[in-house]
């Protein structure tokens, strides 16, 4: 018995020793072998980065006037992690907040919802950040409101208030520059996950559109970081790092606030003029460029909106209106995102193409009322014949039929529907040379490139659509099954991959599938004015440190040259002058007080409005002045604005009056637009109302 008992005791002892050894081994593994990993994990648990956003740099115009500044505001925030714990999910708290702040409950409710929490149609005004940030309800609370909330914290759990710096767009000269400046918004998960290779912190605001977006890194500065060691209740126990924020750099724009204000007024005026004349006039854009440098002196898009709604707390209705078709999609910048058929303003391209194809500028050409091409009749714009006329007159009176014939002849020479192996494609190549189908490279986000409907584009288009047109009777909607549309579909299925005669003819007058943005046209006309250089449009002029030191000055940049000879350029300049002196724009510009060269455009638009009415013509005017020594290019476009001259032409004329101070107006630039960088008075800017 003794032996067995001793043995079992020994076995038990060995077991216990092995238990102790395994504890020892585990301890070694945790603390020594894997220690560094756990030390890091512990630091992760204990340390918190407290981010103090840097003061955002100012955005000023080319005379130093603040376009975007910062002002002190009182921000009221909601902490969802607290509110969600209530049985009613914080409804009663938010109702009280709405009462105190005199805001609509629905707006506050939406503002404090993550976008993903709401149904797709109800996301207007939702919070684009995440649940763990304090969500701003307003940044514009009064001291009294904040007092009420802070004093009765029992009634307002999860609601906090603190002073913040808010971005303000002061409209000093009455300008808005909505689409150029852009706005700020909360950090998104995508930003935080470092997908763009930039480091962001949770409670920072970042630029979401326009200049604020594109130059965000410069403007934002470097946020101050205080790393603290906290306990389980998030109470700070120790400070481990303290880095003061570095304020952002200021940005000087080439924009001029006064000119911008004038351009905005005249654009709006043009839209209303169109409406008064019975056109729908749904939207528009206007641009003033320095032809030599490519500096954008003004860029307006109608409709626009007050940028301050973003920081003051956007309401559900405001957010919805930004993208609603009914209110004209004010979020869209027509100057760089509006793609329209350039119509007759495009004829400078056609004329250059004709010269390349060997047509003499000294000859006269027949301008008939209509041209028969295949089984289709292409009419002159006003259906009148002008007889044999010079090319200059053709430009001045905007004869279409000359271009129909030339384009058709050249199309036939290139082989027609059976293209030759070596193509001249004078028209397409000329358009390409003028920048069609390529972004201008302006320093604004989301620019569109227009459309050059050349042979490659046709092939791509066919690839995407042949299934639809070749099975039209099955795929089309009932309402689309008219005999005319069925015939078009049949043709598209048959040879939609080819540039047809009609396509070429339409292209020659800037119609058909041809699309341009107003900015592209402004660049092209600047080139005509400056001797052929396609300038990259520049909105930003310089980056300046808060101390005043210039970090970077943006130099003019040439993206290409017009593919035309000096003589052709000269001819075009004269022709464009003739448009104003003895052509389609003569009435609009009589007595303007400065020599203007330009071209009207009245673009047909296919498609229908929401109410089923067919769309009105696009009104264009593209120009530069003074004609002899051009300084400015001005382009205006009014969508569904009717005639080029009466709507946009008159608008552009008034813009020139503002610039040069003619007809009793005060000149905006007495000595040309400022070349020198302005002095930036940041203290004055911060004190703006």
């Amino acid at each position: 018995m003794r032996d067995r008992s001793t043995l079992t005791l020994l076995v038990a002892q060995v077991l216990v020793i092995s238990l102790m050894l395994s504890l020892f081994g585990r301890l070694f593994y945790l603390q020594i072998a894997d220690g560094p990993r756990y030390q890091e994990a512990a630091l992760d648990i204990q340390s918190r980065d407290i981010v103090a956003p840097a003061l955002r740099g100012l955005i000023v115009d080319n005379e130093g006037n603040a376009l975007a500044t910062n002002k002190a505001g009182l921000m009221v925030t909601a902490d969802r992690s607290v509110l969600d714990k209530f049985e009613d999910k914080g409804v009663s708290v938010l109702t009280r907040v709405a009462e105190v702040l005199k805001l609509e409950y629905q707006d506050i409710y939406t503002r404090t919802r993550l976008c993903g929490e709401l149904a797709i149609g109800e996301r207007n005004g939702c919070w684009n950040g995440n649940r763990y940030q304090p969500i701003p309800i307003t940044k514009d609370a009064s001291e009294k409101q904040v007092f009420t909330i802070l004093e009765r914290s029992d009634l307002f759990p999860g609601i906090d208030a603190k002073p913040v710096s808010i971005r303000s767009y002061p409209s000093l000269a009455g300008q808005r520059a909505t689409h150029v400046l852009g706005y700020l918004g909360p950090i998104t998960e995508k930003n935080l996950n470092n997908e763009e290779g930039k480091r962001y912190y949770r409670n920072e605001l970042i630029g979401k559109a326009g200049i604020e977006f594109l130059y965000d890194e410069q403007l934002r500065g470097i946020p101050g970081i205080k790393t603290v060691i906290v306990d389980r209740k998030e109470i700070v126990r120790q400070e481990s790092l303290n880095r003061a924020p570095v304020p952002g750099n200021h940005l000087v724009l080439s924009l001029n606030a006064k000119l911008q204000a004038a351009v905005e007024v005249e654009l709006k005026d043009a839209v209303f003029r169109a409406r008064a004349n019975g056109y729908r006039g749904d939207s528009g854009a206007a641009i003033v460029m320095d032809v030599k440098t490519g500096e954008v002196l003004a860029m307006a898009s109608y409709p626009d909106y007050d940028l301050n709604i973003w920081e003051n707390g956007i309401t559900v209705n405001q957010a919805r209106d930004l993208y609603s078709e009914k209110s004209g999609v004010p979020a869209l910048s027509r100057a760089i995102q509006g793609e329209f058929a350039p119509a007759s303003t495009f004829k400078v391209v056609s004329l250059s193409a004709a010269v390349d194809a060997g047509y003499s500028l000294k000859n006269t050409y027949e301008c008939p009322a209509e041209v028969q091409i295949g089984d289709r009749t292409f009419k002159n714009f006003d259906s009148n014949a002008a007889g044999r006329i010079s090319m200059t007159t053709a430009m001045a009176i905007s004869c279409d039929s000359i271009w129909y014939q030339i384009a058709y002849d050249e199309w036939v020479r290139d082989g027609g529907l059976r293209p030759k192996p070596s193509l001249n494609d004078y028209f397409f190549n000329s358009a390409k040379g003028y920048g069609l189908g390529k972004k201008t490279g302006v320093d604004l986000p989301s620019e569109l490139s227009g459309r050059l409907p050349n042979r490659q584009w046709k092939l791509d288009w066919y690839d995407r659509n042949k299934d639809f047109y070749c099975n039209y009777s099955e795929k089309a909607k009932k309402s689309q099954l008219t005999p005319y549309l069925i015939e078009i579909a049949r043709e598209n299925c048959l040879d939609g991959d080819k540039v047809r005669a009609g396509d070429m003819v339409n292209f020659s007058i800037g119609q058909g599938d041809t699309l341009m943005t107003p900015l592209q046209l402004a660049v092209a006309y600047s080139a005509l004015a400056n001797g052929g250089k396609l300038m990259v449009p520049k909105v930003a002029k310089a980056i300046v440190e808060p101390s005043g030191r210039v970090v970077k000055e943006f130099k003019p940049e040439i993206s290409g040259r017009l593919p035309i000879k000096k003589s052709t350029l000269k001819f075009l300049q004269n022709s464009l002058r003739a448009v104003v002196t003895g052509g389609t724009a003569t009435g609009a510009f009589s007595g303007v007080g400065v020599e203007v060269s330009g071209k009207t455009g009245t673009g047909q638009v296919f498609g229908r409005n929401l109410d089923g009415s067919s769309k009105d013509d696009t009104s264009w005017f593209a120009s530069f002045a003074p004609s002899k020594k051009p300084e400015y290019a001005v382009v205006m476009m009014v969508s569904q604005g009717g005639f080029g001259a009466s709507t946009s032409g008159v608008g552009v004329r008034k813009i020139y009056e503002h610039i040069f101070g003619t007809n009793g107006r005060v000149a905006i630039f007495t000595n040309g637009n400022p070349k020198k960088l302005p002095r930036i008075d940041s203290i004055k800017a911060e004190l703006l109302p």
């Binding site: 005791l9 038990a12 238990l19 102790m20 504890l23 301890l27 756990y38 306990d231 126990r237």
Partner: protein, 380 residues
């Protein structure tokens, strides 16, 4: 580690006792006091409470514990046999009492405590460990002349002695204590010389019992979550999974030398809940590092090895069985507690011997040490 068998007077706790055992336990008690203080001082000070609150109370616990241990050595354990039925009965009564509404209070999902006026609480299950061990030892050591193993009847009786308190503890339910008692009981039966069939049968019964307990819903969701989070730490990240992860990180971040006493940010930030009681080892891990924690393991090792030596040395069967019971209990509880903090074992609410804050456990542990010394002193 041969124990001296010289028959001489070994009276007194300090003079005639196993001094190595005493020294190890004493060191552990001291370290425990310091760790309890380290676990609570900063947090309490930060919350405007008395930072020495736990320190003072733990010192009182230790003093009472030492007195109980000393008291236990005074009564010849062989006389204790006569009192055994009373010790056992007292333990069972306590366990019944916790289940009576109004008397028992619930902590962490288990009705394990009896509340007394003045905020004092007592955990009868801790003392029940002593009752069961002494009761089992009594039955298993009574032999007919010439018998070298307990009869089946005795084993059944011993199991009966265990069953009642165990069922009462299951009813609380206090899974950790149940597991430790079960492990100790099986060890005692195995080492009593009982037939191997008993041992195997009990092991199987234990596994089936655990399964039934979970299947019948006797094991609360709270406990089930703890088990689940051991298997899959992300299963319950907010509660027990969080606790286990924090515990592991806290120990791991201590490194070789530790962050220094009172200087552990994890400890001072109280990221590990229950760190002055069940998770006290994390404080040692973080602040004293591998060196300090290993030293604690070494002290436990010495305690256990001395207990084995005492069990081996005594010729008295009752004394042997008591020592074996204590050593089994201690071993499993140390392994379960420290193993839990390091992610080796699932989370159950058992305190760490001599280190954790708390009276009931301290008293039971110290009485057990008293029993060991008692056996040692009376070994011929």
């Amino acid at each position: 580690m041969k124990i001296s068998l010289k028959a001489q007077s070994k009276r007194g706790f300090f003079t005639g006792a196993d001094q190595i055992l005493n020294a190890a336990v004493f060191l552990l008690l001291l370290i425990g006091i310091v760790l309890v203080y380290a676990a609570t001082r900063d947090w309490f000070a930060a919350n405007d409470l008395d930072p020495e609150y736990y320190l003072k109370r733990q010192i009182v616990n230790v003093i009472i514990g030492i007195a109980l241990a000393y008291g236990t050595t005074l009564i010849d354990y062989r006389l204790l046999r006569a009192y055994t039925p009373f010790v056992w009965g007292f333990g069972v009564l306590g366990l019944v009492a916790v289940l009576i509404p109004g008397l028992g209070s619930t902590v962490n999902g288990a009705r394990s405590w009896i509340s007394f006026p003045g905020g004092l609480q007592f955990q009868p299950a801790e003392l029940a460990k002593i009752s069961i061990i002494v009761g089992m030892a009594l039955i298993l050591s009574e032999r007919m002349a010439g018998e070298d193993r307990p009869s089946d009847k005795q084993v059944l009786q011993a199991l009966g002695v265990t069953a009642l308190p165990l069922i009462l503890i299951v009813a609380q339910p206090d899974l950790g204590t149940v597991l430790i008692i079960t492990a100790a009981v099986i060890t005692m039966i195995a080492l009593s010389g009982a037939s191997l069939y008993w041992v195997v049968g009990l092991l199987i019964a234990g596994v089936v019992g655990v399964y039934l307990a979970i299947a019948s819903g006797e094991v609360s969701e709270y406990q089930l979550n703890r088990l689940k989070s051991f298997v899959d730490p992300s299963a319950d990240p907010q509660a027990s999974g969080y606790q286990l992860r924090q515990a592991r990180i806290t120990i791991g971040s201590g490194g070789l030398l530790g962050k220094g006493l009172f200087n552990g940010p994890q400890t001072n930030g109280r990221f590990v809940p229950e760190q002055q009681t069940d998770f006290i080892f994390t404080v040692a891990g973080e602040e004293l590092g591998f060196i300090g924690s290993s030293f604690i393991l070494l002290l436990y090792f010495i305690v256990l090895m001395r207990a084995f030596a005492i069990a081996r040395a005594t010729t008295d069967l009752f004394g042997k069985m008591v020592s074996i019971g204590v050593v089994a209990w201690f071993s499993f509880q140390i392994f379960e507690n420290i193993g839990m903090t390091m992610g080796l074992m699932p989370m159950t609410g058992v305190p760490l011997l001599f280190l954790s804050y708390g009276g009931s456990a301290m008293f039971a542990n110290m009485i057990a040490i008293g029993l060991l010394q008692n056996v040692y002193q009376r070994t011929r």
